[in-house]
Symmetry: D2
Subunit: 190 residues, 4 copies
């Protein structure tokens, strides 16, 4: 399985990038998580779109389309989705096709505060509902006080966190299989 | 298929009861929607639960468990879920088992205002996420200005509404089949 | 100042009842919190309302109207508002008048899990927006792992929790004064 | 009064820009709405912030700080806040000071669909709660089917829409006065 990982933060040394890498290391053998570098995606502007998808966006949409599943790890900014992550999703969602429709998605969030992103995940789920993605219900993963759980080189030093992330990735692997059995493309044709 | 219908309003002549009946009439041949009468469900109270599920609640939970899918039609009270509908869900959710886990659910809402329940559906989806239900993404059905769309005897006089409800029920029928193919019980064992 | 306290749980020994009592003990001198016993409020039903407010509801609405402010302490049930608490708010919200309009409200939540009710508070805020209450923004109080912070007799044994609750009650006291200066009744006449 | 208007869309000929201009024309005599051009605000990136606020952001934050109130008119993208509008708010929210704290804000939304942005407004309110803004409760303004309500040159041809926007701006004018009477800076010092 080839999964695409999207980190909601652009910061070097982002804790969510660490959590995402941890998710990648927790996948069953034979699966692989490739992390997207989306720094060059431009601000969404319908005037720009009128001239067709910019090259970076077209590439991004192709990669989403080809992935077996998407893993999003995101911080919470001001009780909601980081603007630039939402901008990325705004671009992906446009056009005749819809790369996220029927696509399995898993969400995790990490934050330095105690709640670990409890608010951002539900906004993200609503956005992903709009694009008709197949977001896994559970287990939810919220990593609070993340600065105590990863060292600065990205090593996960908290066993509970490692176990939660691993159980989510195992469940996600089953979820991807299950979504395939659903034959979502048939569903989408209705 | 045997579906269970839950109306969010207790009012005689409820527009959501009409919408739910319309959903029942819109099902493919061979499917049937039975509407739950939940008026006697008591207020949830953990002290009461400590003595075991009250009889009406135990019956309700069995009916949910046996249904092939659940259709919820609900008004929006104060921008969220009607209290008593939430109370019903609070009862269903308790206990060792979880009758709604892996269960296909479709949501529609009707309101006399223009928005047709745009806010209540997302709260309901979050609640159903908690209990790990398999809520269908789309099509969403919001019936605004419902008083112009049904006569007092419950006849749907608006063709667009009838068509939307029918397309949702057809999609729900496919969704139930698709969820069966997922084998959600396997998923839940993970 | 006479504040009215509403606990979202009916359970004897409710942790939120303890948190609410703690809020009462944390008020500045001269203020008092009276906790509402709302166990006898019936299920909301528009048919019932058609005959006028039931006695308990009329009394409840009067008490809300006369209070200088409302403090709500609530658990989170299934990622949202406990059904019976919502039912209470559904009753309060009905009728020509609106007892909660312009009324200062503070929200706190306690839970045995780590998030302390992070989801329920925003649903509650949206409901209170509908009824045009003046809900204080900050500080927010989420009491996670509440079973480690109160003894079974309701003593708060966690200093951080006690401090948070106290700072919220001090802020709420200022908020009530500030709302008075706004003259919300004038605003509501616009 | 000097209000700052923020449009959630960057598109030339944006319906929300029209709605915002309509809000500007609906203000009481003596008040003025200046619409922000925020096209050059860069993607938020904590690495960039580490070097201090970029010039455009510093200017933006000053303008927010000096305004008597903020009017936000926004479309809904994928059931939530447009990414770039959220990015703008992410920038404003950072730093030692908080230009939006205690600041009166009014929200309206326009959409070509029937719901007129029913979902985006509550996400926006939650974000503005985080930054401790004083968001006016009511009247809420949702402009559905906006393409039938404004001509391409921005003239509002729907009397109901014009009346709703005007009543919101009158209420906002009173709200700004009321917030001044609250003396929010005193509150924020608590």
């Amino acid at each position: 399985m080839r999964l695409l990982g999207i980190c909601g933060s652009l910061r070097t040394g982002s804790f969510n990038a660490m959590a995402l890498a941890q998710a990648g290391r927790s996948l069953p053998v034979g699966s692989e998580l490739e992390v997207l570098d989306w720094r060059t995606i431009p601000p969404f502007d319908a005037d720009l779109l009128a001239a067709g998808f910019p090259g970076e966006v077209a590439t991004l949409r192709d990669r989403v389309r080809r992935a077996d599943g998407i893993v999003i790890a995101t911080p919470e900014y001001n009780f909601s989705i980081p603007g630039m992550l939402k901008n990325l999703l705004d671009w992906i969602s446009r056009g005749e096709d819809q790369p996220l429709a029927g696509k399995p998605v898993a969400i995790l969030s990490a934050a330095t505060g105690p709640l670990g992103g409890a608010r951002v995940q539900y906004d993200l789920r609503r956005v992903l509902l709009f694009v008709d993605a197949m977001v896994m219900n559970k287990p939810e993963v919220f990593i609070g006080q993340v600065q105590t759980k990863f060292t600065t080189d990205g090593t996960c030093v908290d066993e509970t966190t490692a176990r939660f992330v691993q159980s989510q990735m195992l469940a996600f692997s089953s979820w991807i299989d299950a979504v395939k059995r659903m034959r979502p493309q048939e569903l989408l044709q209705n």
